[in-house]
């Protein structure tokens, strides 16, 4: 306890629920004592929490939140005290302080004995449940909903923690607490225990949470999928001298994928033309998504300007990015999510373009003999060696963006979907309701690896997943045995309610619109608390191929 929250044993109960949750959840994760939230029937039935627990947790959590709001309203602000000082004036519900006292009184218990200690385990479960109930919609308060003082304080602490945690007194290098979108409905892990708070251990991956107070999104979301490049040449793949000789020592090789940037005017025309053609299929478009390594940096700038003018988000992999510090080549993606239409009454003065967010890939792609042959690259790359993507791996970060009132999404780049470590822990803890995986891969068939990993995320935590590759790589794919050769399945959709869909471009089409809808479902925590049917699930709602236009395609 003292490690997570210095001074915890000598001071009073922390007033801020995410701090209390950080302590209780870390202890439960370390000891596994959360498994005792379950009741087992039979002759010697034992349950730490009775049937009144869900209602009690909701009432006490609600009272805790109201106490904080009242204290902040009265004591915090200009000419008054800081939020930190005002928090100390909150009168916590007695049940919270009693559970905290029980926990502190048993601080000498060894980890091995924790689970068997009824009072200690009950106090951990109670503190976690109260804090969770107090924190409803934390980090998910955008789109004009009137944010109470609790939500405002959460925003402040998030900003002070560099967007990594909603805690106040618990340092983000000791434990991080973020918001949450899905509660796993299968199995039993610590994640099963909360609706609103997630524990993210301060390990190597840095999660970043953005609650963008943008205009409310429609309940139908139309994504224009541009599977660019439409053609990938074998000569776009080249061996690279590693310089150090280390790769050669291992019998490995390095490769890069590159191509020249296209003229600005052509890129602008292609993107505009694609958006216009898509709008013949759906009247409103919300985002344009391109695969891994789809655009050069200069092409991104042009496409971004078009997206901003068109009022749509833009998500794309970048082919020629470099690490800011070292200048080394880096595989990354960019996300322009502030380009959605502004609210009525917003300034119309021409401003600088809103900034995009950049996230780097966490793993290198390794082309083995099997893949070199599959993509017909044997004339360019040595099939006898393992060929590693020449990409710098730097800081590992993953963003979670909540916008438009219901959408919380993340983006992964290719290998990051397959090699779920080290991001799996944080991704599963938060459970965004949309994960977009940008790939440089073969056809997105339901039998292939992206579908398997999408299923893992759809099962636990319940995230919906879109995988998207380029038509060029799809068409290069010639698997041994012939399955999927010449396929035009450029994307795959998976959601936990309606399953898997292969998205295949018909001949004569070079793009498609994927329509997604917001659905709501009731989820339960393992200790029996309902979310009141508040879980928003992103589900498949339609697929509309876009016939190719007259403009020569990329």
């Amino acid at each position: 306890m003292e490690f997570i929250l210095p001074g915890a044993l000598t001071g009073s109960c922390p007033a801020w629920p995410p701090d209390v949750f950080a302590v209780a959840a870390t202890l439960m994760r370390r000891t596994g004592s959360y498994v005792r939230c379950l009741a087992t029937g039979g002759k010697s039935a034992v349950s730490l929490l009775d049937e009144r627990w869900p209602g009690r947790a909701e009432a006490i959590g609600g009272a805790w939140r109201r106490a904080i709001c009242a204290a902040l309203k009265e004591h915090a602000g200009s000419g008054k005290t800081s939020l930190e000082s005002a928090l100390l004036r909150a009168t916590l519900p007695p049940s919270v302080t009693q559970a905290w006292s029980t926990l502190c009184n048993r601080a000498g218990t060894s980890f091995g004995s924790c689970t068997a200690d009824d009072a200690l385990t009950r106090s951990l479960l109670e503190l976690s449940g109260y804090a969770d109930e107090a924190s409803w919609s934390i980090g998910l308060e955008s789109a004009g909903d009137e944010q109470d003082e609790y939500g405002q304080a959460a925003q402040l602490f998030l900003a002070l923690n560099d967007k990594q945690s909603f805690c106040h007194r618990v340092h983000p290098q000791r434990a991080r607490v973020l918001g949450k979108k899905h509660t796993p409905q299968q199995g039993l892990t610590l994640r099963s225990l909360t609706h609103h708070l997630s524990l993210c251990m301060p390990w190597e991956v840095e999660p970043l949470w953005f609650d963008l107070d943008s205009a409310r999104l429609d309940d139908v979301l139309n994504l224009l999928l541009l599977p660019w490049p439409l053609e990938v040449k074998a000569t776009d793949f080249q061996c690279v001298n590693s310089g150090s000789g280390l790769s050669e020592l291992r019998g490995d090789s390095l490769f890069e994928y590159s191509r020249p940037s296209r003229p600005d005017s052509e890129v602008e025309r292609w993107v505009l033309d694609a958006i216009e053609r898509a709008k013949r299929q759906v009247s409103k478009l919300h985002a344009v998504v391109l695969p891994e390594l789809a655009l050069t940096r200069s092409e991104w700038k042009i496409a971004e300007a078009v997206a901003i003018r068109s009022g749509v988000m833009l998500i794309s992999g970048i082919i020629d990015d470099t690490d800011d510090k070292s200048g080394l080549p880096m595989n990354s993606c960019r996300i322009q999510m502030m380009s959605l239409p502004t609210r009525p009454g917003a300034e119309t003065v021409a401003a600088a373009p809103p900034p995009a967010f950049r996230q780097a890939k966490h793993h290198r792609w390794c082309l083995d003999r099997h893949q070199v042959l599959q993509y017909d690259l044997g004339g360019q790359l040595p099939s006898a060696l393992r060929c590693w993507e020449n990409s710098h791996i730097g800081d590992r970060r993953i963003f979670f963006a909540h916008l438009g009132g219901w959408l919380t999404f993340s983006v992964l780049i290719c290998e990051d979907l397959a090699r779920q470590d080290p991001i799996a822990d944080v991704l599963r803890s938060v459970g965004p309701n949309l994960v977009i995986a940008l790939l440089m891969d073969g056809p997105q068939l339901a039998a292939r690896w992206p579908a398997r990993y999408a299923s893992v995320l759809a099962d636990d935590p319940g995230s919906s997943v879109l995988t998207l590759t380029s038509l060029g790589m799809c068409q290069r794919s010639r698997p041994v045995g012939g399955g999927g050769a010449g396929s035009r399945v450029i994307a795959l959709w998976k959601d936990k309610l309606y399953g898997t869909r292969e998205l295949e471009l018909p001949e004569g089409c070079d793009a498609c619109v994927l329509s997604l809808a917001r659905d709501t479902r009731e989820e339960y925590t393992a200790d029996g608390r309902s979310d009141g049917k508040a879980t928003e699930v992103t589900v498949y709602s339609g697929f509309f191929p876009v016939p190719a236009g007259s403009a020569r395609n990329p």
């Binding site: 902040l72 915090a76 602000g77 200009s78 008054k80 005290t81 800081s82 939020l83 930190e84 004009g144 944010q147 003082e149 405002q152 304080a153 925003q155 402040l156 998030l158 900003a159 002070l160 560099d162 967007k163 970043l208 953005f210 609650d211 963008l212 107070d213 943008s214 940096r297 990015d321 800011d324 960019r334 502030m338 380009s339 959605l340 502004t342 609210r343 009454g345 917003a346 300034e347 119309t348 003065v349 021409a350 401003a351 600088a352 809103p354 900034p355 995009a356 967010f357 950049r358």
Partner: protein, 69 residues
């Protein structure tokens, strides 16, 4: 391309939201100022504290902050 300006917009949005709710104390404002990473962010913060950012900066912030409408 760095994420500095993007991250600064999140901080500035928090400043604007807290101010709109009259919850922004001088100590909290100063703590938030120290989190800003770009010159642009520090300039807009000063403008926010002084009364209001320039129209072009206001327009930018309104994309992620309804409190500035």
């Amino acid at each position: 391309m760095s994420n500095e300006k993007f991250e600064d917009m999140a901080v500035l949005s928090t400043v604007a939201r807290l101010r709109a709710k009259n919850l922004l104390n001088e100590m909290d404002a100063n703590a938030l100022r120290l989190k800003l990473k770009s010159d642009w962010g520090r300039k807009v913060f000063a403008d926010l504290q002084a009364g209001g950012p320039a129209p072009e900066d206001r327009g930018l912030l309104q994309r992620c902050c309804a409190a500035l409408l």
